[in-house]
Amino acid sequence: MYEVLEDFAQTNRLRETSPGLKLFLGLSSILLCVSSPGPVAPLLVAATMSAAILALAKIPARFYARLLLVPVSFAVMSIAVVLFITGSGAVLFEVPGLPLAITAGGANLALLLLARVFGGMCSLYFIALTTPMTEVFDILRRLRVPAVLIDLAMLTYRFIFILIEEAGQIYRSQVMRLGYGRFRESVRSFGMLAGALFIRTWESGEALVLAMDARCYDGRLGIPGEARPVSALALATTLLYLGAVFGVSLSTGGLVII
């Protein structure tokens, strides 16, 4: 899944668009979603971002749908709590036998949260699917983020892919030897996996130190950045879009669904 996400970031149809503009668009949409007082603007962001991902970046719809399902279980649990503890307005539904009730106020708040989470998620996927991490690092560097933080992030990023591969191999061989048959075994196997993974990780880290030293590492990693100019048309469209969402957010702020 991780590699696939990064593959799409490298090959999608918006690859040649300025990474700064894509990042700006994604982050501004997230901020608009969070600050919107009503659920309409976040839903609009979710729809337009999904459209951009599917139509402009040409990400396969089936893959994108599977990505959207990932955070659902996280969302449902937290929103259920908000739904029940916020009580104001008319009672819509009572759980028989328990002191739990859904009120109009709670339902509206839950709906708003759901819309914000959904809009934010689509904007986040827009960044993840169209902008390769390496270009994000380049932007961070130009924004004067401390070099040591960027270097650490780049190396961490590099190792994540190697480790996931190794963890998968260890896990599969444990499953083949019935390592996760019973609960006790699962805990033991998982500990073994994590322990072996840590030691292997550490060894590859030491190997990396050697390799970097051999290539005259002096505490700075250099990445050649190529500046891609922002086209005036793209910038104007982005600003127009963000302005429109902001307008919708302001004009539909007081709208209450239930």
């Binding site: 937290s78 949260l113 994540i160 130190v209």
Partner: protein, 230 residues
Amino acid sequence: MHIMEGFLPSPWWEIWFLISLPFIVIGLYQLNRLVQEKREALPLLAVAGAFVFVLSSLKLPSFNGSCSHPTGTGLGAILFGPFIAAVLGLIVLVFQAVFLAHGGITTLGANVFSMGIAGPAVAYLIYRAGTRAGANTYATVFVAAALADLVTYVVTSVQLALAFPGTAGFLGAFSAFAAIFAVTQVPLAIIEGAVIALVFKYIVQLKPEILTRLNLLSESTVDKLREAAA
């Protein structure tokens, strides 16, 4: 538990960013000094960060089938101290938000505080206190990792309850969130403690140089532990 993108309303997400910021700044300062002293520290920290990412994206074996995972940052704090662990936590959480949609950008401050600062700080303090008191190393690691995991969830419940007090007020909302997250998390915290203690055991048996070089265990303790295992 990661708080999702868009879940925390203004001003709470800004407030948690401000609270987390000083820890990150101190962490960066320590990191800079460490890297200047020992160049090999950077790659080793990077692999530790990647390890935390992979560990926390694997699912723990759990009975109730709930979607939970170890936080893993407890180990980072024991190895490198709480401030550098906060920086590692920040990096891991950004990658998790972008790759896995766990957490988000606006909720980053709150998530860094619960998973990168509060949990690791507890793990670090317990580990220090335990080794100073001369307690069994594995038992100390177990308690440190399990409590770090639990504290993370309690802090998350506090963050959610502050943002959504509802009509029940802060305490009522806190107990509702804590009941859902923390109670389902108690068995998982115990499993995480056991897993991290097992990791420690493998490191002691197979590659104790890691621990002695970071000044976590003295050579004599390692010898004692290896004899006990043999």
